[in-house]
Symmetry: C2
Subunit: 297 residues, 2 copies
Protein backbone atom coordinates (compact mmCIF):
# COMPACT_ATOMS: atom_id res chain seq x y z
CA UNK A 1 0.00 0.00 0.00
CA UNK A 2 2.91 2.32 0.81
CA UNK A 3 3.93 2.32 -2.83
CA UNK A 4 0.81 4.18 -3.97
CA UNK A 5 1.44 7.10 -1.62
CA UNK A 6 2.53 10.16 -3.55
CA UNK A 7 2.73 13.86 -2.76
CA UNK A 8 -0.48 14.21 -4.75
CA UNK A 9 -2.28 11.36 -2.95
CA UNK A 10 -0.72 10.97 0.51
CA UNK A 11 -2.24 9.29 3.53
CA UNK A 12 -2.65 11.25 6.73
CA UNK A 13 -2.61 10.45 10.41
CA UNK A 14 -4.52 12.80 12.70
CA UNK A 15 -3.39 12.62 16.31
CA UNK A 16 -5.29 13.96 19.31
CA UNK A 17 -2.98 14.00 22.34
CA UNK A 18 -4.41 14.47 25.80
CA UNK A 19 -3.80 14.16 29.51
CA UNK A 20 -5.41 10.72 29.68
CA UNK A 21 -4.90 9.17 26.24
CA UNK A 22 -3.69 9.67 22.70
CA UNK A 23 -5.86 8.77 19.72
CA UNK A 24 -4.53 8.40 16.17
CA UNK A 25 -6.62 7.91 13.05
CA UNK A 26 -5.30 7.24 9.55
CA UNK A 27 -7.23 9.01 6.78
CA UNK A 28 -7.20 9.15 3.03
CA UNK A 29 -6.85 12.62 1.49
CA UNK A 30 -10.64 12.86 1.24
CA UNK A 31 -11.16 12.10 4.94
CA UNK A 32 -12.03 8.39 4.83
CA UNK A 33 -11.02 6.50 7.97
CA UNK A 34 -8.61 3.61 7.34
CA UNK A 35 -7.72 2.71 10.93
CA UNK A 36 -7.61 3.97 14.50
CA UNK A 37 -5.33 3.39 17.50
CA UNK A 38 -5.35 4.54 21.11
CA UNK A 39 -2.35 4.73 23.45
CA UNK A 40 -1.43 6.38 26.77
CA UNK A 41 -1.28 10.05 27.70
CA UNK A 42 0.44 12.50 25.38
CA UNK A 43 0.81 15.84 27.14
CA UNK A 44 4.18 17.52 26.48
CA UNK A 45 3.77 19.50 29.72
CA UNK A 46 4.02 16.23 31.63
CA UNK A 47 6.83 14.53 29.75
CA UNK A 48 8.13 14.68 26.19
CA UNK A 49 9.40 11.10 25.99
CA UNK A 50 6.00 9.68 27.00
CA UNK A 51 4.27 12.03 24.54
CA UNK A 52 6.39 10.83 21.62
CA UNK A 53 5.97 7.22 22.70
CA UNK A 54 2.17 7.55 22.86
CA UNK A 55 1.98 9.31 19.47
CA UNK A 56 4.05 6.60 17.80
CA UNK A 57 2.30 3.74 19.64
CA UNK A 58 -1.19 4.97 18.73
CA UNK A 59 -0.13 5.48 15.10
CA UNK A 60 1.34 1.98 14.91
CA UNK A 61 -1.89 0.54 16.31
CA UNK A 62 -3.80 2.52 13.70
CA UNK A 63 -1.55 1.11 10.95
CA UNK A 64 -2.28 -2.39 12.18
CA UNK A 65 -6.01 -1.59 12.35
CA UNK A 66 -5.80 -0.36 8.74
CA UNK A 67 -4.07 -3.55 7.65
CA UNK A 68 -1.00 -1.54 6.64
CA UNK A 69 2.67 -2.40 7.18
CA UNK A 70 4.47 -0.88 10.16
CA UNK A 71 7.08 0.52 7.78
CA UNK A 72 4.34 2.62 6.14
CA UNK A 73 4.63 4.99 9.12
CA UNK A 74 7.37 6.82 7.21
CA UNK A 75 4.90 7.56 4.39
CA UNK A 76 2.25 9.20 6.59
CA UNK A 77 1.74 12.96 6.82
CA UNK A 78 1.02 13.59 10.50
CA UNK A 79 -1.08 16.31 12.10
CA UNK A 80 -0.68 16.54 15.86
CA UNK A 81 -3.00 18.37 18.21
CA UNK A 82 -1.20 18.60 21.55
CA UNK A 83 -1.75 20.35 24.85
CA UNK A 84 0.99 22.74 25.95
CA UNK A 85 2.47 23.53 22.54
CA UNK A 86 1.24 27.10 22.90
CA UNK A 87 4.31 27.33 25.16
CA UNK A 88 7.08 28.26 22.66
CA UNK A 89 9.71 26.08 24.37
CA UNK A 90 7.47 22.99 24.24
CA UNK A 91 6.46 23.68 20.63
CA UNK A 92 10.16 23.77 19.73
CA UNK A 93 10.80 20.54 21.68
CA UNK A 94 8.06 18.75 19.75
CA UNK A 95 9.19 20.14 16.39
CA UNK A 96 12.73 18.92 17.14
CA UNK A 97 11.49 15.35 17.59
CA UNK A 98 13.16 12.88 15.21
CA UNK A 99 9.67 11.72 14.24
CA UNK A 100 9.00 8.63 12.12
CA UNK A 101 6.61 10.35 9.69
CA UNK A 102 7.03 11.70 6.13
CA UNK A 103 6.10 15.12 7.49
CA UNK A 104 4.74 16.43 10.78
CA UNK A 105 2.61 19.49 11.55
CA UNK A 106 1.94 20.54 15.12
CA UNK A 107 -0.69 22.74 16.70
CA UNK A 108 -2.65 22.87 19.94
CA UNK A 109 -5.24 20.24 20.79
CA UNK A 110 -7.69 23.13 21.09
CA UNK A 111 -7.06 24.24 17.55
CA UNK A 112 -7.51 20.73 16.08
CA UNK A 113 -10.60 20.14 18.22
CA UNK A 114 -12.08 23.39 16.88
CA UNK A 115 -11.25 22.54 13.25
CA UNK A 116 -12.79 19.09 13.76
CA UNK A 117 -15.92 20.29 15.56
CA UNK A 118 -16.78 22.62 12.66
CA UNK A 119 -15.37 20.36 9.94
CA UNK A 120 -12.74 22.86 8.89
CA UNK A 121 -14.93 25.95 9.19
CA UNK A 122 -14.46 28.86 11.65
CA UNK A 123 -16.02 28.55 15.07
CA UNK A 124 -15.56 28.22 18.80
CA UNK A 125 -15.21 25.28 21.16
CA UNK A 126 -15.03 24.65 24.87
CA UNK A 127 -13.45 21.42 26.02
CA UNK A 128 -14.46 20.16 29.44
CA UNK A 129 -13.04 16.77 30.18
CA UNK A 130 -10.14 16.07 32.50
CA UNK A 131 -9.18 19.74 31.94
CA UNK A 132 -11.07 22.77 30.66
CA UNK A 133 -10.32 25.39 28.03
CA UNK A 134 -11.87 27.48 25.31
CA UNK A 135 -10.84 28.42 21.80
CA UNK A 136 -12.30 30.43 18.94
CA UNK A 137 -11.05 30.91 15.42
CA UNK A 138 -12.78 33.47 13.21
CA UNK A 139 -10.98 34.67 10.08
CA UNK A 140 -7.54 35.84 11.13
CA UNK A 141 -8.53 36.19 14.80
CA UNK A 142 -8.15 33.48 17.37
CA UNK A 143 -8.81 33.53 21.09
CA UNK A 144 -7.65 30.99 23.64
CA UNK A 145 -8.99 31.04 27.21
CA UNK A 146 -8.07 29.02 30.27
CA UNK A 147 -6.44 25.64 29.92
CA UNK A 148 -3.75 26.55 32.40
CA UNK A 149 -3.68 23.00 33.69
CA UNK A 150 -4.32 21.17 36.91
CA UNK A 151 -4.23 22.36 39.72
CA UNK A 152 -3.44 25.91 38.58
CA UNK A 153 -6.54 26.46 36.45
CA UNK A 154 -9.00 24.28 34.52
CA UNK A 155 -11.99 25.44 36.54
CA UNK A 156 -15.13 23.49 35.77
CA UNK A 157 -13.16 20.49 34.51
CA UNK A 158 -13.44 16.94 35.83
CA UNK A 159 -10.15 17.20 37.70
CA UNK A 160 -11.22 20.53 39.21
CA UNK A 161 -14.57 19.10 40.37
CA UNK A 162 -12.70 16.17 41.92
CA UNK A 163 -10.13 18.40 43.62
CA UNK A 164 -12.74 20.77 45.07
CA UNK A 165 -14.74 17.81 46.39
CA UNK A 166 -11.65 16.13 47.89
CA UNK A 167 -10.57 19.42 49.52
CA UNK A 168 -14.00 19.79 51.07
CA UNK A 169 -14.20 16.19 52.28
CA UNK A 170 -10.77 16.45 53.94
CA UNK A 171 -11.83 19.67 55.69
CA UNK A 172 -15.01 17.88 56.77
CA UNK A 173 -13.14 14.88 58.14
CA UNK A 174 -10.88 17.27 60.10
CA UNK A 175 -13.99 18.90 61.57
CA UNK A 176 -13.78 22.20 59.68
CA UNK A 177 -17.06 21.74 57.84
CA UNK A 178 -20.39 19.90 58.13
CA UNK A 179 -20.57 16.44 56.50
CA UNK A 180 -22.23 16.19 53.10
CA UNK A 181 -22.99 13.38 50.65
CA UNK A 182 -19.52 13.99 49.22
CA UNK A 183 -17.87 12.31 52.22
CA UNK A 184 -19.40 8.82 51.84
CA UNK A 185 -19.11 9.15 48.05
CA UNK A 186 -15.34 9.74 48.24
CA UNK A 187 -14.70 7.14 50.95
CA UNK A 188 -16.61 4.53 48.93
CA UNK A 189 -14.90 5.54 45.69
CA UNK A 190 -11.51 4.68 47.15
CA UNK A 191 -12.85 1.97 49.48
CA UNK A 192 -11.17 3.62 52.50
CA UNK A 193 -12.29 4.64 55.96
CA UNK A 194 -10.69 8.01 56.67
CA UNK A 195 -8.84 11.10 55.45
CA UNK A 196 -5.55 9.23 55.42
CA UNK A 197 -6.98 6.70 52.98
CA UNK A 198 -8.14 9.47 50.66
CA UNK A 199 -4.79 11.24 50.83
CA UNK A 200 -2.99 7.98 50.08
CA UNK A 201 -5.04 7.61 46.88
CA UNK A 202 -4.75 11.21 45.71
CA UNK A 203 -1.42 12.68 46.91
CA UNK A 204 0.82 13.43 43.98
CA UNK A 205 -1.60 11.83 41.53
CA UNK A 206 -2.33 13.08 38.04
CA UNK A 207 -5.33 15.13 37.01
CA UNK A 208 -7.03 12.04 35.57
CA UNK A 209 -7.22 10.45 39.05
CA UNK A 210 -9.07 13.53 40.28
CA UNK A 211 -11.27 13.58 37.19
CA UNK A 212 -12.51 10.08 38.04
CA UNK A 213 -14.33 11.67 40.99
CA UNK A 214 -16.28 14.06 38.76
CA UNK A 215 -19.20 11.73 38.08
CA UNK A 216 -19.71 11.20 41.83
CA UNK A 217 -19.62 14.95 42.45
CA UNK A 218 -22.20 15.58 39.73
CA UNK A 219 -24.42 12.78 41.10
CA UNK A 220 -24.29 14.34 44.59
CA UNK A 221 -25.10 17.75 43.10
CA UNK A 222 -28.06 16.41 41.12
CA UNK A 223 -29.38 14.59 44.20
CA UNK A 224 -29.51 17.91 46.06
CA UNK A 225 -26.28 18.00 48.07
CA UNK A 226 -25.72 21.73 48.63
CA UNK A 227 -21.92 21.66 48.79
CA UNK A 228 -21.64 19.51 45.66
CA UNK A 229 -24.16 21.73 43.88
CA UNK A 230 -22.18 24.85 44.84
CA UNK A 231 -18.98 23.33 43.46
CA UNK A 232 -20.65 22.31 40.18
CA UNK A 233 -22.38 25.70 39.93
CA UNK A 234 -19.07 27.56 40.41
CA UNK A 235 -17.39 25.44 37.74
CA UNK A 236 -20.30 25.76 35.32
CA UNK A 237 -20.47 29.51 35.98
CA UNK A 238 -16.87 29.80 34.87
CA UNK A 239 -17.55 27.75 31.73
CA UNK A 240 -20.57 29.94 30.88
CA UNK A 241 -18.47 33.08 31.30
CA UNK A 242 -15.77 31.52 29.11
CA UNK A 243 -18.36 30.82 26.40
CA UNK A 244 -19.55 34.45 26.48
CA UNK A 245 -15.96 35.64 26.03
CA UNK A 246 -15.60 33.37 22.99
CA UNK A 247 -18.90 34.73 21.59
CA UNK A 248 -17.28 38.20 21.48
CA UNK A 249 -15.52 37.01 18.29
CA UNK A 250 -18.95 36.23 16.75
CA UNK A 251 -18.18 32.63 15.79
CA UNK A 252 -20.72 31.11 13.40
CA UNK A 253 -20.72 27.81 15.30
CA UNK A 254 -20.03 26.86 18.92
CA UNK A 255 -19.57 23.34 20.28
CA UNK A 256 -18.84 21.76 23.63
CA UNK A 257 -16.50 18.77 23.66
CA UNK A 258 -15.34 16.34 26.32
CA UNK A 259 -16.77 14.00 28.92
CA UNK A 260 -18.30 16.81 31.00
CA UNK A 261 -19.96 18.65 28.11
CA UNK A 262 -23.24 16.76 28.52
CA UNK A 263 -23.42 16.53 32.36
CA UNK A 264 -22.57 20.25 32.74
CA UNK A 265 -25.25 21.35 30.26
CA UNK A 266 -28.11 21.74 32.82
CA UNK A 267 -25.82 23.97 34.92
CA UNK A 268 -24.83 26.36 32.11
CA UNK A 269 -26.47 29.70 31.31
CA UNK A 270 -29.50 29.37 29.00
CA UNK A 271 -27.90 31.91 26.62
CA UNK A 272 -24.91 29.56 26.33
CA UNK A 273 -26.94 26.38 25.93
CA UNK A 274 -29.00 28.04 23.16
CA UNK A 275 -25.86 28.47 21.08
CA UNK A 276 -24.48 24.94 21.34
CA UNK A 277 -24.16 23.10 18.02
CA UNK A 278 -23.22 19.45 17.71
CA UNK A 279 -19.61 18.64 16.87
CA UNK A 280 -19.31 17.55 13.24
CA UNK A 281 -16.07 15.55 13.47
CA UNK A 282 -13.55 14.43 16.09
CA UNK A 283 -10.28 16.29 16.89
CA UNK A 284 -8.28 13.67 14.95
CA UNK A 285 -10.03 14.74 11.75
CA UNK A 286 -9.30 18.34 12.73
CA UNK A 287 -5.63 17.40 13.09
CA UNK A 288 -5.77 15.72 9.66
CA UNK A 289 -7.37 18.83 8.08
CA UNK A 290 -4.67 20.99 9.67
CA UNK A 291 -1.88 18.74 8.32
CA UNK A 292 -3.47 18.62 4.88
CA UNK A 293 -3.78 22.40 4.77
CA UNK A 294 -0.13 22.85 5.73
CA UNK A 295 1.16 20.00 3.54
CA UNK A 296 -0.59 21.16 0.37
CA UNK A 297 0.26 24.84 0.84
CA UNK B 1 35.72 8.41 67.68
CA UNK B 2 33.53 5.49 66.67
CA UNK B 3 35.28 3.23 69.13
CA UNK B 4 33.93 5.07 72.19
CA UNK B 5 30.33 4.59 71.09
CA UNK B 6 28.59 2.05 73.31
CA UNK B 7 24.99 1.18 74.00
CA UNK B 8 25.33 3.18 77.22
CA UNK B 9 26.88 6.23 75.51
CA UNK B 10 25.76 6.22 71.88
CA UNK B 11 25.76 9.16 69.51
CA UNK B 12 22.48 10.16 67.87
CA UNK B 13 21.49 11.72 64.59
CA UNK B 14 18.22 13.62 64.52
CA UNK B 15 16.79 14.01 61.02
CA UNK B 16 14.05 16.42 60.00
CA UNK B 17 12.82 15.51 56.52
CA UNK B 18 10.68 17.91 54.57
CA UNK B 19 9.29 18.86 51.19
CA UNK B 20 12.11 21.30 50.47
CA UNK B 21 15.11 19.99 52.41
CA UNK B 22 16.39 17.45 54.89
CA UNK B 23 18.39 18.52 57.95
CA UNK B 24 20.47 16.12 60.05
CA UNK B 25 22.20 16.95 63.33
CA UNK B 26 24.50 14.67 65.27
CA UNK B 27 24.06 14.87 69.05
CA UNK B 28 25.70 13.40 72.12
CA UNK B 29 23.39 11.56 74.52
CA UNK B 30 22.96 14.78 76.52
CA UNK B 31 21.91 16.82 73.49
CA UNK B 32 25.16 18.57 72.58
CA UNK B 33 25.45 19.37 68.86
CA UNK B 34 28.47 17.78 67.16
CA UNK B 35 27.68 18.57 63.55
CA UNK B 36 24.91 19.46 61.10
CA UNK B 37 24.22 18.70 57.45
CA UNK B 38 21.53 19.75 54.98
CA UNK B 39 20.53 17.91 51.81
CA UNK B 40 17.60 17.88 49.35
CA UNK B 41 13.93 17.06 49.91
CA UNK B 42 12.99 14.01 51.94
CA UNK B 43 9.26 13.43 51.63
CA UNK B 44 8.33 9.74 51.27
CA UNK B 45 5.05 10.78 49.59
CA UNK B 46 7.07 12.16 46.67
CA UNK B 47 9.66 9.43 46.30
CA UNK B 48 11.28 6.91 48.60
CA UNK B 49 14.65 6.69 46.81
CA UNK B 50 15.16 10.46 47.03
CA UNK B 51 14.08 10.43 50.68
CA UNK B 52 16.65 7.79 51.60
CA UNK B 53 19.32 9.57 49.55
CA UNK B 54 18.65 12.90 51.28
CA UNK B 55 18.66 11.33 54.75
CA UNK B 56 21.99 9.63 54.13
CA UNK B 57 23.51 12.64 52.36
CA UNK B 58 22.58 15.06 55.15
CA UNK B 59 23.90 12.63 57.78
CA UNK B 60 27.19 12.23 55.92
CA UNK B 61 27.55 16.01 55.71
CA UNK B 62 26.86 16.19 59.45
CA UNK B 63 29.56 13.55 60.09
CA UNK B 64 32.02 15.62 58.08
CA UNK B 65 30.95 18.78 59.96
CA UNK B 66 31.54 16.91 63.23
CA UNK B 67 35.02 15.85 62.11
CA UNK B 68 33.96 12.19 62.28
CA UNK B 69 34.75 9.36 59.87
CA UNK B 70 32.14 8.48 57.22
CA UNK B 71 32.22 4.88 58.51
CA UNK B 72 30.89 6.13 61.86
CA UNK B 73 27.45 6.33 60.23
CA UNK B 74 26.93 2.68 61.24
CA UNK B 75 27.41 3.61 64.91
CA UNK B 76 24.73 6.34 64.96
CA UNK B 77 21.28 5.83 66.44
CA UNK B 78 18.96 7.66 64.05
CA UNK B 79 15.66 9.38 64.76
CA UNK B 80 13.73 10.36 61.63
CA UNK B 81 10.84 12.79 61.51
CA UNK B 82 9.25 12.38 58.09
CA UNK B 83 6.14 13.61 56.34
CA UNK B 84 3.73 10.95 55.14
CA UNK B 85 4.70 8.13 57.50
CA UNK B 86 1.27 8.40 59.12
CA UNK B 87 0.28 6.46 55.99
CA UNK B 88 0.84 2.82 57.10
CA UNK B 89 2.19 1.71 53.72
CA UNK B 90 4.80 4.49 53.66
CA UNK B 91 5.78 3.85 57.28
CA UNK B 92 6.41 0.22 56.35
CA UNK B 93 8.40 1.24 53.26
CA UNK B 94 10.66 3.46 55.37
CA UNK B 95 11.07 0.83 58.09
CA UNK B 96 12.08 -1.70 55.42
CA UNK B 97 14.94 0.54 54.26
CA UNK B 98 18.36 -1.17 54.47
CA UNK B 99 19.55 1.90 56.38
CA UNK B 100 23.22 2.57 57.21
CA UNK B 101 22.65 3.31 60.93
CA UNK B 102 23.12 1.24 64.11
CA UNK B 103 19.40 1.62 64.74
CA UNK B 104 16.61 3.69 63.22
CA UNK B 105 13.37 5.03 64.74
CA UNK B 106 10.76 6.67 62.56
CA UNK B 107 7.87 9.00 63.34
CA UNK B 108 6.11 11.90 61.66
CA UNK B 109 7.84 15.24 61.16
CA UNK B 110 4.95 16.73 63.13
CA UNK B 111 5.67 14.55 66.12
CA UNK B 112 9.41 15.36 66.18
CA UNK B 113 8.70 19.07 65.65
CA UNK B 114 6.34 18.98 68.62
CA UNK B 115 8.81 17.13 70.85
CA UNK B 116 11.50 19.61 69.84
CA UNK B 117 9.38 22.74 70.30
CA UNK B 118 8.57 21.79 73.88
CA UNK B 119 11.96 20.15 74.57
CA UNK B 120 10.43 16.72 75.19
CA UNK B 121 7.37 17.93 77.12
CA UNK B 122 3.72 17.64 76.02
CA UNK B 123 2.29 20.38 73.88
CA UNK B 124 0.90 21.45 70.53
CA UNK B 125 2.43 22.83 67.36
CA UNK B 126 1.30 24.25 64.05
CA UNK B 127 3.73 24.16 61.18
CA UNK B 128 3.19 26.70 58.40
CA UNK B 129 5.97 26.67 55.88
CA UNK B 130 5.73 25.14 52.41
CA UNK B 131 2.85 23.09 53.83
CA UNK B 132 0.60 23.43 56.87
CA UNK B 133 -0.45 21.06 59.62
CA UNK B 134 -1.16 20.85 63.33
CA UNK B 135 -0.29 18.35 66.03
CA UNK B 136 -0.88 18.03 69.76
CA UNK B 137 0.44 15.46 72.20
CA UNK B 138 -0.94 15.46 75.74
CA UNK B 139 -0.44 12.36 77.87
CA UNK B 140 -1.71 9.40 75.91
CA UNK B 141 -3.76 11.55 73.56
CA UNK B 142 -2.53 12.93 70.27
CA UNK B 143 -4.33 14.90 67.59
CA UNK B 144 -3.18 15.53 64.05
CA UNK B 145 -4.96 18.02 61.81
CA UNK B 146 -4.52 18.91 58.15
CA UNK B 147 -1.23 18.28 56.41
CA UNK B 148 -2.97 16.58 53.51
CA UNK B 149 -0.41 17.99 51.12
CA UNK B 150 -0.31 20.28 48.12
CA UNK B 151 -2.66 20.90 46.26
CA UNK B 152 -5.20 18.78 48.15
CA UNK B 153 -4.97 20.58 51.49
CA UNK B 154 -2.35 22.62 53.36
CA UNK B 155 -4.55 25.72 53.54
CA UNK B 156 -2.71 28.74 54.89
CA UNK B 157 0.68 27.34 53.84
CA UNK B 158 3.18 29.08 51.59
CA UNK B 159 2.36 26.78 48.68
CA UNK B 160 -1.37 27.38 49.19
CA UNK B 161 -0.91 31.18 49.25
CA UNK B 162 1.13 30.92 46.06
CA UNK B 163 -1.42 28.67 44.35
CA UNK B 164 -4.40 30.87 45.27
CA UNK B 165 -2.55 33.95 44.01
CA UNK B 166 -1.48 32.25 40.76
CA UNK B 167 -5.05 30.98 40.19
CA UNK B 168 -6.39 34.51 40.64
CA UNK B 169 -3.77 36.13 38.41
CA UNK B 170 -4.48 33.64 35.60
CA UNK B 171 -8.22 34.35 35.89
CA UNK B 172 -7.39 38.08 35.81
CA UNK B 173 -5.20 37.77 32.72
CA UNK B 174 -8.03 35.84 30.98
CA UNK B 175 -10.40 38.70 31.83
CA UNK B 176 -12.44 36.87 34.50
CA UNK B 177 -11.45 39.24 37.34
CA UNK B 178 -10.23 42.77 37.94
CA UNK B 179 -6.43 43.28 38.02
CA UNK B 180 -4.78 43.55 41.43
CA UNK B 181 -1.24 44.07 42.67
CA UNK B 182 -0.83 40.29 42.48
CA UNK B 183 -0.60 40.43 38.68
CA UNK B 184 2.54 42.60 38.36
CA UNK B 185 4.00 40.82 41.41
CA UNK B 186 3.71 37.42 39.76
CA UNK B 187 4.81 38.56 36.30
CA UNK B 188 7.89 40.21 37.81
CA UNK B 189 8.62 37.20 40.03
CA UNK B 190 8.98 34.98 36.97
CA UNK B 191 10.21 37.79 34.68
CA UNK B 192 7.50 36.99 32.13
CA UNK B 193 4.91 39.01 30.21
CA UNK B 194 1.75 36.93 30.19
CA UNK B 195 -0.27 33.98 31.47
CA UNK B 196 1.67 31.58 29.29
CA UNK B 197 4.91 32.61 30.97
CA UNK B 198 3.42 32.01 34.40
CA UNK B 199 2.04 28.60 33.39
CA UNK B 200 5.42 27.64 31.94
CA UNK B 201 7.05 28.36 35.31
CA UNK B 202 4.40 26.67 37.49
CA UNK B 203 2.83 23.78 35.54
CA UNK B 204 3.68 20.48 37.17
CA UNK B 205 6.04 22.16 39.62
CA UNK B 206 6.47 21.13 43.25
CA UNK B 207 4.90 22.84 46.24
CA UNK B 208 8.17 24.66 47.00
CA UNK B 209 7.96 26.56 43.68
CA UNK B 210 4.51 27.80 44.71
CA UNK B 211 5.71 28.58 48.23
CA UNK B 212 8.32 30.95 46.79
CA UNK B 213 5.40 33.23 45.84
CA UNK B 214 4.14 33.47 49.44
CA UNK B 215 6.29 36.45 50.45
CA UNK B 216 5.01 38.45 47.48
CA UNK B 217 1.40 37.57 48.32
CA UNK B 218 1.90 38.66 51.96
CA UNK B 219 3.57 41.91 50.82
CA UNK B 220 0.60 42.67 48.53
CA UNK B 221 -1.81 41.89 51.41
CA UNK B 222 0.06 44.15 53.84
CA UNK B 223 0.15 46.97 51.26
CA UNK B 224 -3.66 46.88 51.10
CA UNK B 225 -4.39 44.77 48.03
CA UNK B 226 -7.90 43.43 48.72
CA UNK B 227 -7.62 40.14 46.82
CA UNK B 228 -4.26 39.31 48.39
CA UNK B 229 -5.60 40.26 51.83
CA UNK B 230 -8.65 38.03 51.32
CA UNK B 231 -6.41 35.08 50.38
CA UNK B 232 -4.15 35.61 53.41
CA UNK B 233 -7.17 36.10 55.68
CA UNK B 234 -8.76 32.86 54.47
CA UNK B 235 -5.53 30.95 55.06
CA UNK B 236 -4.93 32.53 58.47
CA UNK B 237 -8.56 31.90 59.44
CA UNK B 238 -8.03 28.20 58.79
CA UNK B 239 -4.81 28.20 60.85
CA UNK B 240 -6.59 29.94 63.75
CA UNK B 241 -9.39 27.39 63.63
CA UNK B 242 -6.81 24.59 63.57
CA UNK B 243 -5.13 26.07 66.68
CA UNK B 244 -8.47 26.16 68.54
CA UNK B 245 -9.04 22.48 67.69
CA UNK B 246 -5.60 21.65 69.11
CA UNK B 247 -6.41 23.68 72.27
CA UNK B 248 -9.29 21.25 72.94
CA UNK B 249 -6.63 18.84 74.23
CA UNK B 250 -5.50 21.50 76.75
CA UNK B 251 -1.81 21.44 75.80
CA UNK B 252 0.46 23.23 78.32
CA UNK B 253 2.46 24.82 75.56
CA UNK B 254 1.70 25.83 71.95
CA UNK B 255 4.23 26.90 69.33
CA UNK B 256 4.13 27.95 65.70
CA UNK B 257 6.93 26.71 63.46
CA UNK B 258 7.94 27.37 59.87
CA UNK B 259 8.70 30.24 57.55
CA UNK B 260 5.14 31.60 57.63
CA UNK B 261 4.71 31.47 61.44
CA UNK B 262 5.93 35.06 61.89
CA UNK B 263 4.36 36.71 58.81
CA UNK B 264 0.96 35.08 59.50
CA UNK B 265 0.90 36.21 63.15
CA UNK B 266 -0.82 39.60 62.54
CA UNK B 267 -3.61 37.76 60.65
CA UNK B 268 -4.34 35.15 63.35
CA UNK B 269 -7.05 35.40 66.02
CA UNK B 270 -5.91 37.28 69.13
CA UNK B 271 -6.92 34.28 71.27
CA UNK B 272 -4.49 32.15 69.26
CA UNK B 273 -1.65 34.69 69.31
CA UNK B 274 -1.99 35.03 73.10
CA UNK B 275 -1.17 31.34 73.51
CA UNK B 276 1.93 31.19 71.31
CA UNK B 277 5.12 30.17 73.16
CA UNK B 278 8.55 30.22 71.58
CA UNK B 279 9.94 26.96 70.27
CA UNK B 280 12.60 25.62 72.63
CA UNK B 281 14.51 23.40 70.22
CA UNK B 282 14.50 22.44 66.54
CA UNK B 283 12.75 19.33 65.09
CA UNK B 284 16.11 17.55 64.74
CA UNK B 285 16.50 17.62 68.52
CA UNK B 286 12.93 16.36 68.76
CA UNK B 287 13.88 13.49 66.45
CA UNK B 288 16.92 12.79 68.61
CA UNK B 289 14.80 12.77 71.81
CA UNK B 290 12.38 10.38 70.13
CA UNK B 291 15.20 8.02 69.09
CA UNK B 292 16.78 8.19 72.55
CA UNK B 293 13.48 7.39 74.21
CA UNK B 294 12.89 4.38 71.94
CA UNK B 295 16.53 3.21 72.04
CA UNK B 296 16.85 3.27 75.82
CA UNK B 297 13.45 1.68 76.46
Amino acid sequence: MGGVLTKERPLYVGVDGGGSKCRATIYTADGQVLGTGVAGRANPLHGLAQTFESIEASTRLALRDAGMAQTDIKLLVAGLGLAGVNVPRLYQDVINWQHPFAAMYVTTDLHTACIGAHRGADGAVIITGTGSCGYAHVGEASLSIGGHGFALGDKGSGAWLGLKAAEHVLLTLDGFAEPTKLTPMLLQHFDVKDALGIVEHLAGKSSSCYAELAKGVLDCAVSGDKVAAAIVQEGAGYISEMARKLFSLNPVRFSMIGGLAEPLRPWLGTDVVAKISETLAPPELGAMYFAQQEFTK
